[in-house]
Symmetry: C2
Subunit: 246 residues, 2 copies
């Protein structure tokens, strides 16, 4: 059984490509400044970008002087665009489902994944794959949809009995499949708790460095009042960890 590959759905992809972060790349992603802080200097590093999409991060890593960058994605359509927009022999792309990905041992200094792990069916398997692929002292940095965001039956704000704007949280501790409508109906993600992500990282042999529960900062909210909603329920969970020495 494989995870849904919604990114090869033409209607989904057409909508997805209009997102700020796909039009403007990393600088169009509100959480990028915080995610970047979790990364080490990439100069001379061997980097893997799991769920690379159109290759925005893979190309940025190349610009930072990475020795090599492997971008991995399950979507052939996204990788076609990534290939077309990449003009460097330092970056290579590979099309494979992360639920069956294998990586060489000690072959990477940095493994990065942006907003992808919440699609995986078997998180522990990929964690183990990443842990043996990262050299001791190397880095794992990823972002996922925040579990408070992914948990509820309805992912729409409501008004409370007291008249407050509320996020209708339910089933936070009930992990598993969630089906949402996002550009198309029936997008399937896997809800996991914060503890599950944190403990999976530790159990795989990483030392946790930091987590960030990301919501748009006050400065952004000034320009865009609906981002005030992020203060009620964080949007993304970011995590940085270091591979323990053997």
């Amino acid at each position: 059984m494989a995870a849904q590959n919604i990114y090869d759905d033409p209607d989904f992809l057409a909508g997805y490509a209009t997102l700020n972060r796909q039009v403007h790349g990393l600088d169009g992603a509100a959480e990028w400044p915080e995610l970047k802080k979790l990364l080490p200097d990439l100069a001379g590093k061997r980097v893997a970008d799991l769920g690379c999409g159109f290759g925005w991060f893979s190309r940025w890593a190349e610009q930072q002087g990475a020795a090599s960058v492997l971008g991995v994605d399950v979507s052939t359509k996204m990788l076609e665009r990534a290939e077309a927009e990449t003009d460097s022999a330092t970056v290579s792309y590979r099309c494979i489902d992360l639920d069956v990905l294998e990586l060489d041992a000690d072959a990477y200094d940095v493994v990065f994944s942006s907003l992808t792990l919440h699609y995986l069916l078997d998180l522990d398997r990929l964690m183990a794959t990443m842990a043996q692929a990262v050299t001791p002292g190397g880095s794992l940095v990823f972002s996922v949809e925040h579990p408070i965001f992914s948990a509820p039956t309805s992912q729409q704000f409501e008004t409370s009995d007291d008249g407050n704007r509320i996020w209708p949280l339910d089933n936070y501790l009930v992990e598993g499949k969630r089906v949402t409508n996002w550009f198309v109906d029936g997008v399937v993600k896997q809800h996991r708790t914060v503890a599950t992500y944190v403990n999976a990282v530790i159990d795989a042999g990483f030392i946790l460095d930091r987590i960030v529960e990301f919501g748009s900062p006050a400065s952004a909210v000034g320009e865009n009042p609906e981002q005030r909603d992020d203060w009620h329920r964080p949007w993304f969970l970011l995590l940085g960890a270091t591979r323990a020495s053997d």
Copy 2:
């Protein structure tokens, strides 16, 4: 400025003393089996119990063969009962506000705190105090009210527009004072995010071992259906960490 000491309020204390966990001790606390798993073997260890209340954990630690146990609490009334119920020279009690507590360097193998840190005004100060007090390789284990529990303006379940039972989450990322009614009106707690607790532990010099987002297990829910609510919003956050070697 000191944190509110609600535990010396006679009306509060009278209500609080009727809780299952105060009548039956550790075995009356639903999260105790999970919290216990985060603890090392206490035999021969020097233990500090910060926010010891009636001394249930302090006495349990003594029964496990701890070399010494220091119970600390701000409530003189709770410590009077703790002293009266403790019959061992291994356990001593000290009455002081944890926001100004100082502890000797490298003087403890295990620092434990149950459902207390969410009252503190200055978490980072106590983290630093605990970090220098725990010997390298020693343990920090604590529980707090889960941030999803403590965040909302209203801490009562509601019914969503779709008819689902929901936890009306708001202001998760807005840390600070929360005032609730719990046995008496106006009980003051400090809301902090999961990330703030986790990062405070790491920044103080601990290596994170595990977090648990605790909700009553299915077996308990069978006997007590309202505990199903825990699945919607976890009740407690438990954390275990090890002091890094210098």
